[in-house]
């Protein structure tokens, strides 16, 4: 059977994009929340 490296790359490539994308989303959310927390502490 041929090796189909293209399929292997596609599977791992999509997994990388999804996991890095989710991690970046968490990082963004974390930065936003910390900023709001600091803002809240300053105004109170």
């Amino acid at each position: 059977m041929p090796d189909h490296w293209g399929y292997v790359l596609a599977a791992y490539g999509i997994a990388l994009v999804v996991l890095v994308g989710y991690w970046r989303r968490l990082q963004r959310l974390s930065r936003g929340l910390r900023r709001s927390k600091r803002g809240g502490e300053r105004t109170s």
Binding site: D3, H4, A11, L19, L33, K37
Partner: protein
């Protein structure tokens, strides 16, 4: 602690790639496309773990009204959905060259897709309800219903005649694979579990921060 888990996960994933692409041999019948297994199998087993946590957390939410359990359940549900999505996509990509089709309404594939949709539903339901406490309770009910589907997903390949191969790990018999392939699979499973632990810690931390801000 979270940072350390992150670094451990990265080291684990690199080790997993080395094991999957450098150490494990080329599979005899499928060729190198079988290497998708080192992503596909750990992804679904980690998703089982995530939904197991959702199940326990959901019971605690319903009976004890614990906000900590809700944070755990919410985080595990979100990450479980991601891992199940990766399982479906990697399985579909693996299916095309080996079965000749991207998708078939086989018992294993269909039950996994149902599992995915149930937990996406739980996340949507939580987001749709204005009162967070009520949202948590609704999501907990869906989380418990979803967990009942896990044995159906796992044993579908033994209960029904399917195109999907029998379980490689956690099957009723010894894994039908050679020792190097088994070892590569276990290393990748450990790496995925570390990644799951890291993402869980990070997501729970964020939920705690969110709760303290909007309480």
């Amino acid at each position: 602690m979270t940072k350390w888990l992150g670094w451990l996960a990265i080291i684990g994933l690199i080790a997993g790639l080395i094991m999957g692409f450098g150490y494990a041999p080329r599979e005899m019948t499928q060729g190198n496309v079988q290497r998708i297994m080192y992503l596909h199998v750990p992804a679904i087993l980690t998703a089982y773990l995530a939904f197991g946590i959702v199940f326990v957390a959901s019971l605690i939410v319903l009976f004890k009204r614990s906000s900590m359990a809700d944070r755990w359940g919410h985080a595990a549900c979100e990450i479980g959905v991601i891992f199940t999505g990766l399982t479906l996509v990697s399985g579909s990509i693996w299916g095309k060259p080996t079965w000749g089709t991207w998708w078939t309404w086989d018992a294993r594939l269909t039950s996994t897709a149902v599992l995915f949709l149930i937990y996406v539903g739980a996340l949507l339901l939580r987001g749709m309800v204005d009162d967070p406490e009520r949202g948590a309770r609704y999501a907990a009910v869906v989380g418990i219903i979803g967990a009942l589907n896990i044995p159906i997903v796992h044993f579908s390949v033994t209960w029904w005649r399917t195109l999907h191969q029998p379980a490689t790990l956690l099957g009723p018999e010894r894994a039908p694979i050679s020792a190097p392939i088994f070892l590569a699979l276990v290393v990748n499973l450990v790496a995925f579990t570390l990644l799951f632990a890291y993402l869980m810690a990070k997501r729970i931390e964020l939920r705690r921060l969110q709760d303290s801000l909007y309480a």
